[in-house]
């Protein structure tokens, strides 16, 4: 078992059902487990048939659930910034800042950034109140952006730090004849803040690319589109060095389900073969299509009993 287990894949394939089931079986084995949804459209509550929100709730012995609320996280963040602003004197500056915060609030990356911060925070505290985290992720695109954020931003922040340092170096040259001024140049809270950010991204990147601690399983259905999307995503994770685990093929129609479904099953079989061929490097698990939606502990336990190879 890895410390961080992700379930990802195309929309509606069964990520939430699998993440919930997997977390349940970990908890049953005595591992203190947190199951977290990073999908802005949360459905963990539906899977467990219990309200879960932006606060950790106990779902079972050894099992806690959490649905990250991007807006609430962003609010906490901006509130703390505004609080620091109050120490500054000029009212015009405070107004400017408030305006800036409002613009940033609406910019496209903000929600992801807010989710990402919470995500790092949770990973950092693993080992304290819980030993393992199972992530129920948003459909592929969103999740790939989230996971590749540290790699991309790390480079960018590094560039910012260099620029600031260069400016300061020149200032130092200019201040060469004034020892007192040179002394004042030694500290720069901006560089410190940027470095702290960079270190956080680096930590996240390290965790996400460490196959000892992290694994990313795909949930797919035996159908064309879901295979194609998974294939692309596997390539993308590979490029960023995020370890791919197994394939969970969900909603496989059981034998003898009636003439109509038998036909459907035949087409599924073709795709099952394709999945086994294409993704031969890890385990492939098949989960049957159940009669009812996967909702509540009883259904989840059925699924978790079948996920042994990946969870």
């Amino acid at each position: 078992m890895k410390r961080f287990t992700f379930f990802g894949g195309k929309g509606g394939t069964g990520k939430t059902s699998c993440a919930a089931s997997c977390s349940l079986s970990m908890a049953a084995r005595g591992v203190r487990t947190l199951v977290v949804s990073t999908d802005p459209a949360h459905s963990l509550s539906d899977a467990f048939n219990t309200p879960i929100g932006n606060r950790m709730v106990l779902l079972e012995r050894n099992l806690w659930g959490l649905e990250i609320d991007a807006e609430a996280e962003a609010k906490k963040y901006t509130d703390s910034i505004m609080e620091k602003m109050l120490h500054l004197v000029s009212a015009t500056i405070v107004d400017e800042i408030r305006r800036q915060i409002e613009i940033a609030y609406m910019s496209p990356g903000s929600e992801e950034a807010a989710v990402f911060d919470k995500f790092i925070e949770l990973m950092e505290s693993a080992g304290k109140d819980y030993d393992a985290i199972v992530f129920d992720t948003a459909p592929t695109g969103h999740t790939l952006r989230l996971l590749t954020l540290p790699g991309i931003l790390g480079v960018w922040i590094e560039h910012l730090i260099e620029k600031r340092q260069k400016a300061r170096k020149l200032m130092e040259v200019a201040a060469r004849y004034d020892r007192e001024l040179a002394e004042q140049l030694k500290e720069d809270p901006v560089i410190e803040a940027l470095s702290a950010r960079r270190d956080k991204f680096e930590l996240a990147r390290k965790i996400l690319t460490d196959s000892e601690t992290t694994v990313f399983h795909f949930v797919l259905n035996p159908e064309k589109l879901s295979i194609l999307e998974t294939d692309r995503a596997v390539g993308m994770l590979g490029k960023y060095g995020i370890p791919v685990g197994g394939m969970v093929v969900n909603k496989v129609i059981p034998k003898g389900a009636g003439p109509f479904l038998d036909k459907k099953r035949l087409s599924q079989e073709k795709y099952l073969c394709e999945i086994r061929e294409r993704f031969a490097s890890g385990p492939v698990v098949e989960l049957p299509m159940l009669e009812d939606d996967v909702q509540g502990m009883e259904q989840l336990r059925i699924i978790s009993g079948l996920m042994g190879a990946v969870c």
């Binding site: 962003a74 963040y77 901006t78 910034i81 620091k84 602003m85 120490h87 500054l88 000029s90 015009t92 500056i93 400017e96 800042i97 800036q100 915060i101 613009i103 940033a104 910019s107 496209p108 990356g109 903000s110 950034a113 807010a114 931003l153 960018w156 560039h159 910012l160 620029k163 600031r164 260069k166 400016a167 300061r168 020149l170 200032m171 040259v173 200019a174 201040a175 004034d178 001024l181 004042q184 140049l185 500290e187 720069d188 809270p189 901006v190 803040a193 940027l194 950010r197």
Partner: protein
């Protein structure tokens, strides 16, 4: 916090002093100018959306605002006033030759 504020204040006073150029020889003035330009460019990368340049990472830049607040308003003035910037450039060349 108080310490950071003080450091900032010192920093800013330093910038202001540089601006006056009261104690600098001409070569130092050019170096100072370059430092300013680099810092202005940096500010553009950090707070570009302030003046309408989209910055996908502006969320993370917010935490720098309390640290750079003092630099922000003069920067915005400089960057928005093209004439001013051009004049500054011209002055720099005059200086040089």
């Amino acid at each position: 916090m108080e310490k950071i504020k003080n450091t900032l204040k010192k920093w800013w006073r330093l910038f202001a002093l540089f601006h006056q150029g009261a104690f600098l020889d001409r070569r130092m003035a050019v170096v100072r100018k370059e430092a300013f330009d680099i810092n202005d460019n940096l500010m553009l990368l950090l707070f570009g959306d302030f003046i309408g340049i989209p910055n996908p990472m502006s969320y993370y830049m917010l935490e720098l605002l309390p640290l750079m607040a003092d630099e922000l308003v003069p920067w915005e003035r400089r960057i928005q006033n093209r004439k001013f910037i051009l004049a500054e450039k011209a002055a720099q060349y005059d200086f040089d030759t």
